[in-house]
């Protein structure tokens, strides 16, 4: 090993570095496809609220709603949902436009957008929901899917640690990016530069993602160990206990008065969410969560009973560190806390993580080829994953516009994934030609998607922005010189 010749201050011996690198490779190869899919869908999930507006441009996206209009919207939602359903109403702001109401019970779930007069428009955003479910549970049964995604988060975290430990030239090569020469060197430079300089962000994403994915398992085992399997006792430490059951009819108190009281108790905070449990009954509870500009998540909570009496009044100073961390984990992971500029940063670094994952596999494949032990079938299969997944997602988005309801999106994505994997696995052609063909297909799909959406749907600024971006990226890829070269 030539690296061993150099005098090094690296804490690990050259032999240990090689052993760590070997483990890094094994782990990366074992989880590459899942990590890549989770990262790609996660990058899109950062923009899920923008995608919702793109998918359903007719849905209202207001920046302000008065209390009376929100009351009308909640009354309408109550009539549309069965008794016992909890209503979650999100209030709009200039940073995050759009008021929504979610009606949820274990047997019922529906979401509406609210306009400035309090009228409801049912959400029909199949592609956005598909992306979120793909990222959270890979469309598998929820518990298994979350566990696999959590496991992928742990594998990613471990790969980040071993990647650093196995990189004694971390400072010497910190700014080297040599493109176009040896394939292996090019991919290694990309892999290492993106991996090193975005490391703090990637560690945060991997750690929070792993915790979110594994939380059900952790709580289950903790409850088994301490409470004979009663998970409600663990969750009960973090959520308010339900009020004593009293199904007697009781009208909801004036929402305007409750909001005014919550604002009075939390000066400097803006009401962000209303949660209404057991509406119309004597055991109703109305919770108002308010947010402050310098905090990641709402930390002011005021709860009222059916008579409008204050049940709970909690502010940032009252919260223990654990509750604050718990609230912030999801926001830190998804990047939904700082408006468009933060989402763009998350999107860029999410794409970087996709490239890190993909180039890791490419380095392994290139190393085998350089040593005369090429694995062309694996090269084709990886091309089918790395370029096939963006293509499958683009096709799924196209179908979502044409058939906005049902599960067509899921089946198109699954069908495209299976066909590409089987085709690339079975047919014998150079992987580079396959990858080039798929990049071309992806570029065409993006242009078609943007054009079709522009032509088929009324648009709003967010939707227009996404369409323009699709057209620019697609057209730039089509015009790139590499497509003009004959296929290798």
């Amino acid at each position: 090993m030539t690296g061993a010749k150099a005098k090094s201050r690296w804490p690990l011996s050259p032999a240990m570095v090689r052993a760590v690198l070997s483990g890094h490779g094994i782990l990366g190869l074992a989880f590459a496809a899942v990590i890549y899919l989770v990262c790609l869908s996660g990058t899109l999930a950062v923009f899920v609220h923008d995608l919702e507006r793109w998918e359903q441009p007719a849905a209202p996206a207001i920046t302000h709603i008065d209390d009376a209009a929100m009351k009308r919207a909640l009354d309408t939602a109550r009539q549309k949902a069965p008794a016992g359903t909890t209503l979650y109403a999100s209030l709009p702001s200039s940073d995050e436009p759009g008021a929504t109401i979610i009606a949820y019970s274990p047997k019922f779930e529906r979401e509406w957008s609210v306009d400035a007069q309090g009228a409801l428009t049912e959400k029909a955003t199949t592609f956005s929901e598909f992306i979120l479910n793909l990222h959270i549970a890979l469309h598998l049964p929820r518990r298994w899917g979350e566990f696999i995604v959590g496991l992928a988060g742990v594998a990613l975290l471990s790969s980040l640690v071993s990647g650093i430990l196995a990189h004694p030239r971390v400072l010497k090569d910190a700014f080297h990016l040599r493109l176009g020469g040896s394939r292996r060197l090019q991919e290694a430079d990309l892999h290492n530069r993106l991996g090193i300089w975005a490391l703090p962000f990637h560690v945060v994403i991997a750690l929070t993602g792993a915790l979110l994915g594994l939380s059900t398992l952790i709580v289950g085992v903790l409850a088994l160990l301490l409470y004979r399997g009663d998970t409600a006792k663990v969750y009960g430490l973090f959520i308010d206990a339900p009020l004593a059951v009293n199904a007697t009819h009781a009208p909801l108190p004036s929402l305007t008065a409750l909001l005014a009281e919550a604002r009075r108790r939390a000066p400097g905070a803006e009401a962000h969410q209303l949660i209404i449990e057991n509406a119309g009954r004597a055991d109703a509870r109305i919770t108002i969560k308010s947010e402050r500009e310098r905090l990641l998540v709402p930390q002011d909570t005021t709860s009222f009973d059916a008579a409008g009496r204050v049940l709970k009044d909690q502010h940032p100073r009252d919260l223990v560190a654990g509750t604050r961390i718990l609230g912030g984990i999801g926001q830190l992971h998804f990047g939904w806390y700082g408006g468009v500029p933060v989402r763009i940063l998350y999107g860029l670094l999410g794409l970087a993580l996709c490239v890190v994952t993909s180039s890791g596999v490419t380095i392994w494949l290139a190393r085998r080829r350089d040593k005369g032990r090429a694995v062309p079938q694996w090269e084709r299969l990886w091309a089918a994953v790395a370029w096939g997944q963006p293509l499958a997602l683009a096709l799924a988005a196209l179908v979502a516009i044409i058939v906005p309801a049902g599960e067509a999106v899921l089946w198109v994505w699954l069908g495209a994934t299976v066909v590409l994997l089987l085709g690339f696995g079975a047919l014998r052609f150079p992987a580079t030609a396959g990858a080039r063909g798929m990049r071309l297909a992806l570029a065409v799909a993006l242009v078609v998607l943007g054009t079709f959406h522009l032509a088929a749907s009324p648009t709003n600024p967010t939707g227009l922005g996404i369409d323009i971006m699709l057209l620019i990226v697609g057209a730039a890829s089509l015009l790139a010189r590499k497509y003009l070269r004959p296929l290798a």
């Binding site: 310098r294 670094l349 350089d370």
Partner: protein, 185 residues
């Protein structure tokens, strides 16, 4: 927020430019330039915390700095003509014949046993550490994937599998036993 993001990207690029200049000069070390580069990157994170909040600001600044630095890396790219691979200066992974039982044992160590050992550590922390039980549970929860990831890294690199097996089984048994003894109260 936009101002902070732009300042973060610009500051990240500025700090990276200083570090790049210092590290490109292989003939001599440039400690002042290196210090200035790191100081600039750190200052951006501190400014983020100060202007938009301790958690929010640090998170935004870290992301913005990363993008700024990667911009400098991209700007300094060298494009070469295609050629066959040559020997790399980078270390090569260990390669050699491996027995099937070692593969199975490594899978068990990095997977289920690493997970249970990490849970043992997490639950031990959640039950024995001082402070509010909610904080202990959440920090324990964060420790679990972290400890599992470290166990994965270690067991996949360590050739002494029986030692790893003993450590992970011991940690699991001790962690769960101690957690069960103490409880959350």
């Amino acid at each position: 927020m936009l101002a902070m993001v732009l300042a973060g990207v610009a500051g990240g690029a500025g700090g990276a430019a200083l570090l790049r200049r210092a590290w490109t000069d292989r003939a001599r070390t440039r400690p002042l330039l290196v210090a200035a580069g790191w100081l600039m990157l750190t200052a951006i994170v501190l400014i983020g915390a100060w202007t938009i909040g301790p958690v929010k600001g640090v998170a935004v600044a870290i992301a913005a700095v990363s993008v700024g630095v990667l911009g400098v890396v991209a700007r300094g790219r060298v494009v070469r003509s295609a050629r066959a691979a040559r020997d790399s200066l980078a270390p090569e992974p260990l390669e050699g014949p491996s027995r099937a039982w070692r593969g199975v044992l490594k899978f068990l160590l990095a997977g289920p046993l690493g997970m249970t050992a990490a849970m043992g550590i997490a639950f031990c922390y959640a039950t024995w550490a001082p402070g509010d039980p909610r904080t202990r549970i959440i920090i324990g929860g964060l420790l679990m994937p972290l400890a599992w990831a470290l166990a994965m890294t270690w067991t996949l690199a360590d050739q002494r599998l029986l030692r790893a097996l003993a450590v992970l089984v011991g940690t699991t048994v001790a962690g769960f036993a101690l957690a069960a003894m103490r409880g959350l109260a």
